[in-house]
Amino acid sequence: MKTQHGSEKVLWGVGSIIVVASALVPFAWIISLSFKPGDELGNGKFLPRSLTLDNYSKVFQNDSFLSALRNSLGIALIATIIGVALGAMAAYAIARLDFPGKTAILVCALAIAMFPPVSIIGSLFNVWRTLHLFDTWPGLIIPYVTFTLPLSIWALSAFFREIPWELEQAAQVDGATPFQAFRKVILPLAAPGLVTAGILAFIFAWNDFLFAISLTSTDRARTVPAALAFFTGNTQFEQPTGAIAAAAVVVTVPIIVLVLVFQRRIVAGLTAGAVKG
């Protein structure tokens, strides 16, 4: 029993190392690239011989990158807020009410989440141009909300179901309107769920490339992943590898910060002690 336990541990360890390494080594390589001076880029060495911040200063002097960063932040944040707010209300209704078509809504939401965006992108391009949404913030926010909403609804309705119904009944007896009960009792308790859903929605919007490249044409609404594709070297013979690496690191940092900051909230079991226990 003991030895089996030991070998199991080793297997788990090896598996974890493989998974973590395959995810982190490329990222480490990008970080390394971003600090390499131009003549070292192709040398195939992991550690740069000399460190330089040139790539970063180049990136931050690039107007299209800066406007792309602004667009990315703004669009992702707005899409997240709208998505989580709508998702929370929809999920609450689904968790608490019995209404005709409830299952249909959930199935539709799942279908949308599974739907390959690439199959609608062509027609969306034309529709957006007709509606003058092409190359605007709303033009990207709308599809992001559409595709993150199902996920929020599913995650949050599971979360709301976990909250004892007595709590909001108690709130109602205590004199709260249904909306007050939702806002003052249910939402604070669902905070970890809201944060989780929010982070997932934010990451989706932040990372999206397909909509960003197809539905934008200028710096007005182009986000970072799309903007990266338009990076050019100083001359047509120079690859912008270093700058792309630096930009990639810059766009990864917000996500890492986000997850680190909210990790504890996501894990925290806020409902402890609500009922008997």
């Binding site: 004892p164 007595e166 709590l167 009944q169 108690a170 709130a171 109602q172 007896v173 205590d174 004199g175 709260a176 309107t177 007050q180 003052k184 009792v185 604070p188 308790l189 806020l270 409902t271 402890a272 002690g273 609500a274 009922v275 008997k276 226990g277």
Partner: protein
């Protein structure tokens, strides 16, 4: 402060099942009414309809002079303590208790004053800034009570508030609840499945079974003059003993003994011409050697083979079996199953009897003992309908409620001589 009136209240679910059937019940202003029954009898549903948490399918519900059928819970001026307390886990004790006042837009000083007062009453002052998760079960229970009393509600609802506490704390909080109710003098409806809580707390007790109100009366009337087999079996611990009985020529023949019936009782039972069940409370048995000389004529003596003797210190609980030819009839079987699911050693041939004897009794396990019972206190029930045939007419209206709380002290049985 307000009375409550249920008029033909019914709860029907979409699939057609009725959780509560046609309940008529008046609760006086300031009265402490306990709703009691086995689980699934509809008592909680009735309470939740009163709170506005369940829709009322049929009937009219009044609090004070207002019909509140369609009013939202917040407009009914009620306070409720939930079985699992339903404290807001993200708020401190102080914030929990202040929550209803904040919603009611009470000024801040007033909120502080009332919360501090309630905390003092409930001995929670030191815990005001802690979160519910860091409190013990008893403290959480008190916070839930506190949240209810700070509001000065018209009606105070408690849904099995003590069932999550351990036995000792439960007794302690029971006294506390009684004290608080007395001090607030608020109309109180208390739901429980524990007949001891019901008997000790209620001004009146309403017994429910399968959604139907069985009897509403003061604890003593309920105990001495139950409306039917169900109430008789549910109220009292240990439960009333039931025996098959045949009545012939003014005599009731029980497996234990034959007793003479007073003419008035014999007449009632005789004309029925149906199978009957006799009910004897454990305390109406006694060791024959210890019966006072003046009481001896009231009942017969018999010998029994004692199976188990349980000493409670103050009393002895003695178990013995007696034969019961032909069983006890359908109604009693189903009542037995509802009150003690899975329990009960009744078979077609024998019935287990529990007798409560004086602690001075010398009965021993496995030995024969001579016992006596008070024939005047025996109740007779119709075995089919369960109806108590010996219930005095004056309390027959008990099931309708509305007779106030002054109707206690009635003694049932063939002769009201008592002890």
């Amino acid at each position: 402060m307000a009375g409550i009136a249920f008029k033909g209240i019914t709860k029907r679910y979409p699939d057609g099942t009725e959780a509560v059937h046609d309940v008529d019940l008046d609760i006086a202003d300031g009265e402490f009414l306990v709703l009691v029954g086995p689980s699934g009898c509809g008592k909680s549903t009735l309470l939740r309809m009163l709170a506005g948490l369940e829709d009322i399918s049929d009937g009219e519900l009044c609090i004070g002079d207002e019909v509140v059928n369609t009013k939202a819970p917040k407009d009914r001026h009620i306070a409720m303590v939930f079985q699992n307390y339903a404290l807001y886990p993200h708020l401190t004790v102080r914030e929990n208790m202040a929550f209803p006042l904040k919603l009611a837009k009470v000024p801040k000083d007033e909120i502080d004053k009332r919360v501090n007062e309630a905390a003092q009453t409930l001995d929670l002052t030191e815990n005001l800034d802690r979160k519910p998760a860091n409190l013990s079960g008893g403290q959480r229970q008190r916070v839930a009570m506190g949240r209810a009393i700070v509001r000065d509600p018209k009606v105070f609802l408690l849904d099995e508030p003590l069932s999550n506490l351990d036995a000792k704390l439960r007794v302690q909080m029971r006294t506390e609840v009684a004290r608080i109710q007395h001090r607030l003098n608020a109309t109180t409806v208390y739901v429980t499945h524990d007949q001891t809580e019901a008997m000790t707390l209620g001004d009146r007790v309403a017994v429910m079974r399968k959604g139907v109100l069985q009897q509403v009366a003061s604890p003593s009337v309920l105990y001495d003059s139950p409306a039917n087999l169900f109430v008789a079996g549910f109220i009292g611990s240990p439960a009333m003993n039931f025996l098959p009985v045949t009545v012939e020529g003014g005599k009731a023949r029980l497996a234990l003994a034959e007793i003479d019936l007073p003419a008035e009782v014999a007449a009632k039972l005789g004309k029925a011409g149906r199978s009957l069940v006799a009910g004897i409370r454990p305390e109406h048995f006694e060791d024959a050697a210890l019966v006072a000389e003046g009481d001896r004529h009231k009942g017969p003596t018999f010998t029994a083979q004692i199976d188990v003797v349980e000493s409670m210190g103050s009393d002895l609980f003695v178990h013995f079996n007696t034969e019961a030819e032909g069983g006890l009839g359908g109604e009693l079987e189903s009542v037995g199953r509802e009150i003690a699911p899975g329990g009960g050693s009744r078979s077609d041939q024998s019935v287990e009897i529990v007798a409560r004897l004086n602690a001075a009794s010398k009965v021993e396990r496995g030995a024969e003992a001579e016992l006596w019972f008070d024939a005047e206190r025996v109740l007779y029930f119709d075995a089919e309908t369960g109806e108590n045939l010996t219930r005095r007419p004056s309390v027959e209206g008990g099931g309708e409620g509305g007779e106030g709380r002054a109707d206690g002290g009635e003694v049932a049985g063939p002769s009201p001589a008592g002890r």
